[in-house]
Amino acid sequence: MIKIEHLYKTYHADDPERRHEALKDINLTIDDGEVYGIIGESGAGKSTLVRNINLLERPTEGTIVIDGKDVTDYKGKQLLDLRKNIGMIFQHFSLFAQRTVLGNVMFPMEVQGKKKDEAEKRALELLDMVGLADRAENYPSQLSGGQQQRVAIARALANEPTIMLCDEATSALDTMTTKQILKLLHRVNKELGVTIVLITHSMTVAEAICDRVAVIENGSIVEEGPTKEVFANPQSHMARALLGLEDVDEDGRPVGELDEFDAEMSREFAAPHAASAAEGKAE
């Protein structure tokens, strides 16, 4: 279980001109085995939030509790061991270009000091699972985006983590590839029981895979709940805006009814959600 309590992240706290409150009083509980979505526009703070979970960024205030242990101040070996338990994948895959596919998947095990032949065996099993066993000796540059992300997923699973963080993992991929990656993540969640924390700006992605979602806006969570409920009956302006039901300005304030252009855009970008949300309202 991941428990985030009163989390604040402020950049340049001492410099009034550059001071930026990226996260404000975030409280979240993510249960074991669920797929949890954090949705928001770019700059809303979702990347910062997810990086506080594996402490790539340090909270300014607040605590991160993982499986009952307060990890907020973990350093040195404790921190490295914590990260071993949390896999992460990225928007642009972040594979090591000078290593083969196999070498990439072996990297986390190499770093943990696992024996080479054991690491290789496990890496090949993982590549088999993501359907890329035949590409083990290729380099990342020889693979398509979707294949690269599958390698990244195999790599993130190498040390048998219980948690996987996905930072806009499908945002650089086309629709069909996105579907394949989501399907794979679903398998990782169901078959391996890995808790997945996924951040995205795409409502389609969130709806497809998440059990619960939080909507984040300007560093604060404005809405949270089971995906179905949030999508059927969005309460916050931001959730409604992301679903294409209303328009908000840059600060997330509502600017009233949709005009004709907005309505058209909503139909283009979020038609299915808009329809399901309208149904939800009608009920």
Binding site: N54, L56, L79, L80, D81, L82, R83, K84, I86, G87, M88, F90, H92, S94, F96, A97, Q98, R99, F107, P108, E110, V111, Q112, Y139, P140, S141, Q142, R155, A158, N159, L165
Partner: protein, 224 residues
């Protein structure tokens, strides 16, 4: 020009000069990297946005590198003669040249290494951190490993620059092609010797550059 007569007279001299130049350059490039790689890595990771930010350490290293970079080689060469004598016991010949060459090239190498490491995308460092890699492992397995092609390209630039420096060192008693060009070509007006030394230098530079390019391309696993 009678080639046979020319080579009978100067062949051995030119061969020795070429050999001395190569030895000076190879050894000083090697030692310059032994010093320059750790220096370049430290400058990179201690930067404010680096893996191991350390303001004071970064400033001091930056100063050292800049001071080294700002002293013209020919001046450094004579200025550190006492230091050269202290290290290798002489300021003459090939050993006497290697010390100032290394002192001059190490900061240059540090900057080249820093530049190569800075090309590594920050998200790769982040990915390695997320897998629980330590700072040392990231330096070794990500920064250095991922920038090998760029480091090789840098090394050929350093090597060629040191060819030029080695020629300068020749003027103060280090031997090598620079010494021959000055003594025979310049001071004795023997233009033919001058031209041949220049041709040898050009050929050496072309060979080094080609080897560097081919090696870098072979080692680079991107864009294929």
């Amino acid at each position: 020009m009678d080639f046979n007569a020319f080579f009978a007279q100067y062949g051995a001299l030119l061969a020795q000069g070429t050999w001395d130049t190569i030895v000076m350059t190879v050894l000083s490039t090697l030692f310059a990297y032994v010093l320059g790689i750790p220096l370049g890595v430290l400058v990179t990771i201690t930067a404010d946005d680096g893996l191991w930010p350390h303001k004071a350490c970064n400033r001091i290293l930056g100063w050292i590198v800049n001071i080294g970079r700002s002293i013209p080689f020919i001046i450094l060469l004579v200025a550190i003669i006492p230091f050269t004598r202290f290290v290798v016991g002489t300021s003459l010949g090939v050993p006497g040249a290697i010390v100032p060459l290394v002192v001059s090239a190490a900061p240059f190498v540090a900057r080249m290494v820093e530049q190569s490491l800075r090309e590594i995308d920050g998200s790769l460092i982040e990915a390695a951190q997320s897998m629980g890699a330590s700072t040392w492992q990231i330096v070794w397995k990500v920064y250095l490993k991922e920038s090998v092609p760029s480091l090789v390209r840098g090394a050929s630039i350093v090597f060629i620059t040191l060819f030029g420096y080695a020629a300068m060192a020749g003027t103060v008693g280090a031997g090598g092609l620079g010494d021959i060009a000055i003594r025979y070509g310049y001071q004795r007006y023997q233009t033919d010797v001058m031209i041949v030394t220049i041709i040898i230098l050009i050929v050496l530079v072309q060979i080094v550059q080609s080897i560097g390019d081919v090696t870098a391309r072979k080692l680079d696993k991107r864009n294929r």
